[in-house]
Symmetry: C2
Amino acid sequence: MAKKSLEYSNLFAKGLPPASGRWKGHPPFNFIGGHADPDLQPIEGFVESSARVFRKDGRGLATYNMDSGPQGYLPLREFVAEKLARHRGIQVSTDEVLITSGSGQGISLINDVLLESGDTVITELYSFAGVLSNLRRRQVNIVGIDTDSGGMRMDLLASALEDLNQRGITPKYIYTIPTLQNPTGTVMSMERRREMLRLSREYGVPIFEDECYADLIFEGEWEHAIRSLDDANHVLHIGSFSKSLAPAIRLGYAVAPWEVLSQMLACKGDGGTGAMEQMIVGDYFHNHYEDHMEVLRSGLQRKLSVLIAALREHFGPSVHFDPPRGGMFLWIRLPEGVDSRKLVEPAAREGIVFNPGPDWCAEPDKAANYMRLCYAFPSEETIRQGVEKLAKVFHQEAGVS
Amino acid sequence: MAKKSLEYSNLFAKGLPPASGRWKGHPPFNFIGGHADPDLQPIEGFVESSARVFRKDGRGLATYNMDSGPQGYLPLREFVAEKLARHRGIQVSTDEVLITSGSGQGISLINDVLLESGDTVITELYSFAGVLSNLRRRQVNIVGIDTDSGGMRMDLLASALEDLNQRGITPKYIYTIPTLQNPTGTVMSMERRREMLRLSREYGVPIFEDECYADLIFEGEWEHAIRSLDDANHVLHIGSFSKSLAPAIRLGYAVAPWEVLSQMLACKGDGGTGAMEQMIVGDYFHNHYEDHMEVLRSGLQRKLSVLIAALREHFGPSVHFDPPRGGMFLWIRLPEGVDSRKLVEPAAREGIVFNPGPDWCAEPDKAANYMRLCYAFPSEETIRQGVEKLAKVFHQEAGVS
């Protein structure tokens, strides 16, 4: 009989996301995503740690989850608990830590456990695109709370909670990135953190605290995590190794009460997070976290100043931004009336990619004249050239629009 | 105000799986899951490969998916394509290969793309518990086709397809493990493979071929994969590194037409599969696949003969089985009327865990008097002791029942 091809599209489930295209390589001027600095990958540190940790624990690879169980490689959980105590003021045992395949998996698991279509959650008005798109896919209502230079405004949070309460709606959580907020780069004061926790208790709404970027404060005192203030169980806390080390290594962590963690574990269903990565990163950071972070932070700080200088030179007064205290991106306001979405295609033709503001906003149109530039990946020279080219695109398009 | 605890159970989504319990360590006599042999982990090979590959490609860790794109680390895809050509008769380019986080992710992604609640799929009557439970969670109807010593029976498959067709039902796929079938250990003849492909074409139903165990044939000629016979697009093919190397390393692969692969990619949404594992395994297997597999196969073959001898000694004529041509488990029939589920608890009290038959069956009660023993992980001495203890439990319980 004829070797007729199957039309798989007839067999597909309904409501699939659009199919992926073929990968075409990194564009020359890459200002998107959370890519890190290739020059700051600690290659020899990884080589040394691999040798040590495979010889110490390599036999354990023979069983699912090694000898550590499904919460993750115990030495890595020990490192997380130590780091949280030393730098974030959080006291937890390794029993309260779950290693995840990137913090994105932590977000998905918390959402799997708590959310159903039609639920409501609160976020910062400008927030992480990955969370916003995950929530929209789940048909969850997002209430975005406006921010100022100190992060989410507590007066607006209080009135939103009260308003929802009066309408009989209990939001499932308040999602916040208090430290080096994504995308605004702000750091929430301790006073606001305390106030958020108070509101969480008053309204019985948990706080979902994402501290993805909290390792990257360049200088000065670090505000402690909201989780450090929580002597009951109101805060679900996640973090990542993508920003402190490398995003191709898929490692993050979640800290949550066992009532929630045990459900997250039941939903995880991935046979465990990759063991080799847990082993190597656990050993490397156990020995080199402080010195690696010092090198990383000063590298990022240098690139940020190059980016700022280039923006001032090539965009002049057309751009506004508050230089952040750390992190790897800059949130930039363009003149009213400019729509950054319209710059995406002409920029791409010049080999430039960036994040248009609307993707990073609970109410997309409110961020039409914003864009996010990540500066960790491109070299200083590429940042200079890329910003110059992007300014040309901007002036051309803004002139037309 | 009072620091009242939140009751998270009030906030949980409906229909969650039962919460996980605390992990209690590996039991002393562990005959479950797909654990591998700790003595056969190639520690020095991993150390050597880590050093080489981090120095060669470590800078790439700085970007999501390195410089390979979301289908996975290119040298690992090259290894997969070469292995499939050399050992499975499959000719594919690296563009047709997707690296997954374990073959379990491959199964989930194919199901995400093709299945909706109420759909029908065909499997072997006795089949992989992970697939069966995934299908049940999705509320998919499972039609189990009985097997004999040559795997799924094609006469029964033909009549099931015809019967479904007459009822207006097009199954979404025929799931099969043709080579070292899980749990029966059978190898399907080339004649049956050709016949399955013919039926697939006749009824327009794709074949989902799971070759998780196909690396583990101990001796003799290897039947080629069904995918090797497919000159159109009727076969979705997956494989794993869990069995050939280690299950704590979360790596598998899928080979599928781009129409399907591009949808699987869109559903993957995990920021990529762990890069360090892809790099190290890619390098290690590129250099050592043949010699590692030779050592692994002869180790498994030795353990299988220890297991068979212990079963004959301690169970005598109460057990029946067909010694498989390879793999890491034995599918054992107990006398009619024995229910292996009733042995689980008393065995656990003796520190023994095994897989009761019903979990591995599309119609659970049909496998009540079966059990699956995995022999890769326990030492030869532990196999002997464990089988002796299990026989005591069996004689006690079977005598009572």
